[in-house]
């Protein structure tokens, strides 16, 4: 208020100057402030009821689009799931047709193999049974000076050659086998693909495209390369020494010569379909003392304990061999 104001005082019958104390001024401001807030609230309520702020408009737009897209995606998802179900059925049928066995759920779909604890006993399992056996036997011999059918000298030589032996004995997969998907029929009784009877399958089959590299699974010497249209087809025999030989059959081509020395991992030939074979695959055998043994126990350099168990599972399911 620009001009000084007076108030009539009825008691003193005079005009008193209106002095506004600080308190009074403050009170007025407060009253004014609160007043405006109340009004502000009222305005805002009215405004908000009838209008949306730009931010709200944007949010509404956001919600609308998110909802539309979500419904769209959800509908598509349902369609996709139907397609996936059909694909699953087809996959299973193809598996049954080609392998004559019930399909095993892939680790991917199962979300990992079971607990690790089951395989504790296989952990730290670095050496083959034979090496442990031989080492044990050698200890016995040294302590008891027990002469067996094989000469004593022979066995001492074996002990000294242990390093060499570890490199020579088959210990890896003969072809690359990521996630074990190429593992087909295993060792033992299998349905013969042509004869339709249960027959003894002397090795392991790995499916692979024609021309896939085949590796020597241990150091050794190529002792036989044969081309043939029947039986094992084109096949290689490697002598690893230590009474082990390995056979690689149905090859399309060779990469070595007879007499050649090979190291574990060398490419010796390529997958094919020669001989009595119904599809491109590698037939792999291991012989100990001339007798066929189950190759599944001879991949310890390549497989983890869990993979080993899984491979046994895949290979042992009664199914059709490819030769």
């Amino acid at each position: 208020m620009p001009r000084t104001k007076y108030k009539f005082n009825p008691d003193s019958l005079s005009f008193d100057r209106v002095r506004l104390g600080v308190k009074a001024i403050l009170l007025r401001f407060l009253a004014y402030f609160i007043g405006t807030i109340i009004v502000a609230v009222i305005y805002w309520v009215i405004f908000a009821t009838f209008f949306d702020s730009p931010k709200e408009k944007a949010l509404e737009r956001e919600v609308a689009q998110l909802t539309i897209q979500y419904d769209l995606i959800h509908r598509e998802m349902v369609n996709v799931e139907n397609v996936l179900e059909d694909l699953q059925k087809t996959d299973d049928n193809l598996y049954r047709t080609i392998f004559e066995a019930e399909p095993i759920p892939a680790t991917l779909r199962e979300g990992g193999v079971g607990g690790v604890n089951r395989y504790e006993v296989l952990e730290g399992y670095n050496n083959s049974n034979l090496v442990i056996e031989t080492a044990g036997r050698l200890d016995k011999i040294r302590k008891k000076i027990y002469v067996q059918s094989k000469s004593f000298d022979d066995l001492i030589e074996l002990a000294m050659k242990k390093e060499e032996m570890l490199r020579a004995v088959p210990a890896i997969l003969p072809i690359s086998n990521k996630d074990l998907t190429r593992t087909a029929s295993g060792f033992g009784l299998r349905i013969h693909p042509i004869y339709k009877i249960i027959k003894f399958h002397s090795g392991m089959d790995f499916t692979a495209p024609a021309g896939t590299d085949v590796y020597s699974t241990g150091n050794g010497v190529i002792v036989s390369i044969q081309s043939s249209k029947r039986g094992l087809g084109n096949h290689i025999i490697i002598d690893h020494g230590f009474r082990y030989t390995s056979v690689y059959a149905h090859l399309s081509n060779f990469n070595v010569r007879v007499g050649q020395k090979v190291q574990r991992g060398d490419v010796i030939g390529f997958v094919g379909n020669t001989g009595t074979s119904v599809a491109n695959h590698l037939h792999y055998e291991i012989k100990l003392n001339g007798t066929n043994v189950d190759p599944v126990n001879y991949y310890f350099e390549d497989l983890t304990a869990a993979e080993y168990v899984r491979m046994i599972e895949i290979a042992s399911k009664t199914g059709q061999s490819f030769d």
Binding site: R3, T4, K5, Y6, K7, F8, F15, T36, V39, A40, Y43, W44, A48, D52, E56, A58, L59, R61, E62, V63, Q65, L66, T67, Q69, Y70, I73, H74, E76, M77, N79, V80, E81, L84, D86, L87, Q88, T90, D91, L94, T97, I98, A106, L108, R109, D179, T181, P193, I194, Y195, K196, I197, K199, T207, T212, K229, R230, N273, V278, A279, N280
Partner: protein, 321 residues
């Protein structure tokens, strides 16, 4: 009365009542109103920026809820991808190599992406990234699923063909393995009957008169009866794929021309008819007219029991085919 104010008019030296003109009062009111509106806007803006209006908060909550739903469906999408990957693995590594089929190129599986900005309508939102990523994910999955579906169909067709070919190719011995092999596919200096040098295009099996002869693969009988070129009573089966198998010097023929046979079917009894020096089966394989060595079309890998078991097994299977 208490609120009446007075002003000292120095000119008149009198206290005069302050009476406000109605215009002034109106002006004051308008002023107060405008200021309060301004204050309201000020407070409102400050408040909204600090707390947000209830409507805004509700909408924001809706957005959060939707984002949650998206993350849930996101997990389903990831699962689908995992499934598709495992089908793709089976496709590339298990099935195609066995069936001698080339793998589908990676570029074909992912065809149809990129190019014009297909997500234009999803731009300009706070959550545009989310919308676009989900949209493109579901489109990718749809596309991959379609490609896989197509691929599996092709593979299924081919696998049926593969089985058919396997069933049709001559792959077993036409007689039980208890019998010995006779003369083979070779040039004979002295023919056992003619005495002259002649190429022997077949594999002989030394079987006694009246031995069971079996079809070595599925096929159709195209010749059956007397052959005037020395085969005597003979049968020719067309297996398809250019392959023909011939069975000569038979005594008793059990099939007729035009008949369809399956591997393991009894087609004849052996004999010594035609140009034959003794009871035996003459077995021949021709592919696209060319003579082939029959020894490459069967193995010596089973016992007599297994052979008999096989004939039984083949016979029981053929009933279902």
């Amino acid at each position: 009365m208490r609120n009446r104010k007075y002003v000292l008019d120095l000119a008149d030296v009198q206290y005069k009542l302050v009476i406000l003109h109605w215009k002034v009062k109106l002006l004051r009111l308008i002023l107060w109103f405008s200021v309060s509106v301004l204050m309201a806007v000020f407070y409102g803006t400050v408040f909204e920026n600090l707390f947000g209006s209830p409507k805004k908060r509700m909408l924001s909550q809706q957005v959060e809820n939707l984002k949650l739903q998206y993350s849930l469906i996101g997990r389903q999408l990831d699962n689908s991808m995992v499934c598709l990957n495992s089908f793709r693995l089976s496709d590339d590594i298990r099935y195609r190599p066995v069936l001698d089929m080339d793998a589908i190129p990676e570029s074909y599986r992912h065809a149809g992406f990129g190019g014009v900005d297909r997500f234009r309508d999803l731009r300009g939102y706070v959550n545009s990234d989310l919308l676009i990523s989900f949209r493109s994910k579901i489109e990718e999955i749809k596309n991959l699923a379609n490609v896989q579906d197509e691929s599996f169909k092709t593979i299924t067709e081919r696998s049926a063909e593969w089985k058919r070919e396997m069933d049709h190719q001559p792959m077993i011995s036409p007689v039980s393995v208890e019998f010995r092999l006779g003369d083979g596919y070779r040039f004979r200096e002295i023919h056992p009957v003619y005495g002259t040098p002649r190429m022997h295009y077949g594999q002989d099996f030394s079987v006694p008169y009246g031995t069971d002869i079996y079809a070595t693969g599925d096929g159709k009988v195209i010749e059956s009866g007397w052959n005037s070129n020395g085969f005597g009573n003979y049968i020719v089966i067309d297996h398809g794929y250019g392959l023909h198998s011939t069975y000569g010097h038979l005594s008793d023929i059990k099939v007729v021309k035009g008949m369809n046979v399956k591997r393991g079917d009894l087609i004849a009894l052996s004999g010594s008819t035609g140009t034959s020096s003794g009871p035996h089966l003459h077995y021949q394989i021709n592919q696209f007219g060319e003579h082939k060595n029959p020894i490459n079309f069967f193995n010596n890998d089973m016992s007599v029991e297994e052979y008999n078991e096989m004939i039984q097994a083949l016979g029981s299977i053929s009933k279902f085919r």
